[in-house]
Symmetry: C2
Subunit: 150 residues, 2 copies
């Protein structure tokens, strides 16, 4: 939060001329969420995060967790991805990794490195977009499941 304040010589008072909310404007709750997400190497679901917060003594209602996760996404501070099961996982936006997932058994392995790290994202598409993050996931059959299929 940035405030532009004018001092009134006549009355010796101060007046807020303008209030600018910047991207770095994080509430206490949001800070707690971010802090908790950073504590774990893995992504966390909303439910897991809620549980962990309580264990850490940071009491917080479930609605508040979900509400503020959405805000953090819109602020470009975290990103989310859906598991095939429907759960949504959250992670700080600066962690750039992706996964291989078996469509049969759900086994997931993290890929180190991002294949599109230095790929040009088509300009004609992104011109109008304030890009926040990307999601890239590969799906297929793990060795076990591939063999079992025959």
């Amino acid at each position: 939060m940035i405030r532009m304040i004018r001092y009134d010589q006549k009355y010796g008072t101060k007046k807020i001329l303008k209030t600018m909310v910047t991207k770095s404007d994080i509430t206490k709750r949001q800070e707690q969420l971010l802090e908790e997400l950073n504590k774990y190497e893995d992504e966390l679901s909303g439910q897991e995060l809620h549980r962990q917060l309580i264990e850490s003594g940071k009491l917080m209602g479930l609605s508040t967790v979900y509400r503020n996760l959405q805000i953090l996404i819109k602020q470009g501070l975290i990103r989310s991805r859906h598991l095939p099961t429907g759960e949504v996982l959250y992670t700080p936006v600066d962690r750039d990794f992706h996964h291989l997932t078996c469509v049969q058994c759900g086994e997931t392995s993290k890929m180190e490195g991002c294949p599109i790290k230095d790929i040009h994202t088509p300009k004609e598409n992104t011109r109008k977009f304030q890009l926040l993050f990307h999601q890239l996931e590969y799906f297929g059959l793990c060795q076990n499941c591939y063999q079992a299929q025959n």
Copy 2:
């Protein structure tokens, strides 16, 4: 389904020696699902697909729709992606496009062309994987929402 059949001269009977189930082994239901998905340029959710099938006179229970969509995915014939809302959209696997999605209003625009079309997917990761499809989505703020935020 491929059958190897031996004719027994002695008894005048036929015997199935071996049955090979191949990838192209599609049941009638699965064929109907694939056919219906191909009818629409856009991806369809399970619910939408179910509705469309009924309208097309291809009566089918909802369970059967979901069951066979999963099988089609495992066979490498269709792929799926989750909307931020949680709905899952299905589309034939050979359609290679991706989306930009606004994290604020949900507006989605299709990107023509695939940025990773000819990118090498890290070998050390995919060696053990029978790759079926990939998912790539960009998230950010559309022009409207970006401006409205300030």
